[in-house]
Symmetry: C2
Subunit: 405 residues, 2 copies
């Protein structure tokens, strides 16, 4: 019997650690002969793009794979049709049969769990013995039924540490300045909230944190900034990219309404950029906006050891449970306690997870809507613990590259 | 006899390593009683803002100071008047006399060297025995007479590694995309050039690198991108923030010409954002621009050990040479050979350094103007060697904070 692994959705700093966990566990199982990796997820697999991983994954390669960002196998954003009588389903399972696939493991977020849900349902309905298991992965931390998602913690650690760096840097000057840091999170504020972990002695920064979960009011923001400048000269505030007003309009849309450049092209800017211009022209102080952007989700230099180990473990666990006959499930992390941090792995019904979003809990958000509470700090702090020593070669991290040619 | 140290201009990841080098050397000298640190450079000193460093700088504090980004003492952007008969000069030297300052060390870039130049000239003309020495510091690497500047290498290492991260991440998908990475450097392209060190097997990325030293042509850029997309699906190109056309107009000014947001505020965007919109609307492909922004110059997580050690050493050397009676000089790094890397420290006339800029050499830039040459690779590679192990506490780097209250 063979196993097929796919990666799907946006990469995380530990997506390949889960892949390494799956490969590592599968390599140790006598009943598994081939470990196939789908290139660019189910989309690439439909075009017969896959590789045999067992032959190339030495112990040394697995160690390098673990700390390599980006989807090693290649990812996709691809949704299977809702109608299970669509001809794509028999096509997929014929390909599975041809390769003698008994286990299909899909590593991804909400959309990817939808694929697991549909394939497992189809298999069950047609009495096909292919176990389908979802392996959670998302920097956004928005998957239901799990305490948190592998990928979130390393991203949170990036944000907390980069915020600390930015705060330290902005304190170098003694002129009133505002620095707005825009953090990933179109619908949920988990990542922006993690900036709170950067609060250190001798500074209130980040002074405010605005999440998409609470309506954003431009006038209130201005009032907040004016109040804060009385206490903190070098002000740093954090926003989620997806903050929106009480009508549900994204603040980033305020900017793009009628802006175009000198060539007549429509302008796409972020919420941070808009607020930068707004405060500069209103208060006349120096304002800078920083979009943490892509590096958030691909910087191995900020890996949380806790996250890395959990990502590897959920991969291993997925293989183990599939071998026990489980299907239509996603691996979840259950927190037993925070201090000292203790968790156990489990399974949850993937059909109840897919296409849903978990928002930052109300009790984790300050009633004023511009900060988080201690409950979030207690939730997030254990997750960013532990550092990972990286293999460097000639000044660059020695990542594992797949031959794309 | 006492010593006064100041930090000036933009911070670097190793600005405090030079400070630690100066303190460390001064602590070991019997003839030095007090080590004063000017708060916010010469500007703060004029307002009698300074602290006594000897008492707080234990060996443990010095080790943490070394890896702390941002200007520990606080920085300033302040230029002394050209007219040496201005009353500010006797005022400064009266303050020096009151504190029994025999040595003034100023850590900064071009503008800060101007301060060293003026104060040393004034002291000489008025037969005042205060030795004034400049300690080089700039991420821009644009100081004359020195092979390179402390701060540049750690920034270059940040850029090379973040580019590698971004390249790995963008390869996760197989749709044609362009990622434009905007890198610090208003006038010189040293930092943008260092992105070339990220070139790895299985990818041509960063495919192009555009520097301010060569005129940027929008039509040529479009042609470049079209040619590259035939060879590389996930294209990554790097630009200096300061790229300009043959008339000397900044590309970033193309964007701000007539853009304003829905509130009527003038829009300030970068060159990367402008080019993102330009290519998206012209070629219709997915385009993203990333401004590496402030984290470039304040991320200890990308410290070059070579840079850190050199920054410490130039600080020590400055104290040593001042004690030998040198003045009106800046410490310089002379490269003896690149492989294996070997340097020695020396002094150069600060009057010939201040207010000038060193551009990327013509022989380091590809004649097509969209890449660098092997000469730059050979120049830069030795500088980013060696990693620094950071002290972490609770998931964050344990920086040394100065009490601002």
């Amino acid at each position: 019997m063979n196993i097929l692994i796919g990666q799907s959705g946006g990469p995380t700093p530990v997506i390949n650690a889960s892949l390494a966990g799956m490969i590592s566990k599968a390599l140790s199982q006598k009943e598994i002969q081939h470990i196939y990796g789908a290139i660019h997820g189910i989309e690439g697999f439909l075009e017969d793009k896959y590789i045999d991983l067992a032959s190339i994954m030495t112990q040394e390669a697995l160690e390098r794979l673990k700390i390599t960002p980006g989807a090693y196998l290649g990812s996709c954003r691809y949704q299977l049709p809702s109608d299970l009588s669509d001809p794509i389903y028999p096509k997929i399972f014929e390909k599975f049969a041809k390769l003698n696939i008994g286990i299909f493991l899909y590593n991804g977020g909400n959309d990817s769990m939808d694929t697991v849900s549909k394939l497992s349902t189809y298999a069950k309905e047609h009495h096909i013995d292919v176990k389908c298991i979802g392996i959670p992965k998302t920097v956004d931390n928005d998957l239901m039924m799990t305490d948190h998602c592998p990928g979130f913690a390393s991203n949170a650690k990036f944000i907390a540490n980069q915020l600390q760096n930015i705060i330290v840097d902005t304190q170098s000057y003694h002129k009133p300045t505002l620095t707005i840091v825009e953090i990933m999170g179109r619908h949920t504020g988990w990542l922006a909230a993690s900036s709170a972990l950067a609060r250190m002695p001798y500074s209130f920064n980040p002074f405010y944190i605005y999440l998409p979960e609470k309506a954003f009011d431009l006038e209130q923001f201005l009032a907040d900034i004016q109040a804060a400048l009385k206490k903190q000269t070098n002000l740093v505030v954090c926003i989620s990219e997806g903050i929106k007003d009480k009508e549900g309009k994204f603040i980033s849309e305020y900017a793009s309404a009628k802006t175009e450049d000198s060539f007549g092209h429509k302008y796409l800017a972020g919420a941070g950029k808009f607020l930068e211009d707004y405060i500069r022209s209103t208060l006349g102080i120096k304002v800078r906006s920083i979009e943490l952007n892509l590096p958030q989700r691909c910087s191995s230099q900020f890996l949380s050891k806790t996250d890395l180990e959990e990502a590897f473990a959920v991969g291993e666990y997925g293989v183990e449970k599939a071998l026990e006959g489980k299907t239509g499930q996603m691996v979840v992390i259950q927190r037993l306690q925070s201090f000292p941090y203790q968790t156990e792995l489990g399974l949850a019904d993937v059909h109840q997870i897919c296409n849903q979003e978990k928002f930052v809990l109300d009790t984790m958000i300050h009633p004023a809507g511009n900060d988080i509470t201690q409950e979030f700090i207690d939730y997030c702090t254990p997750l960013i613990q532990g550092e990972v020593s990286l293999p460097y070669k000639n000044g660059l991290v020695d990542y594992l590259y797949r031959d794309h040619h």
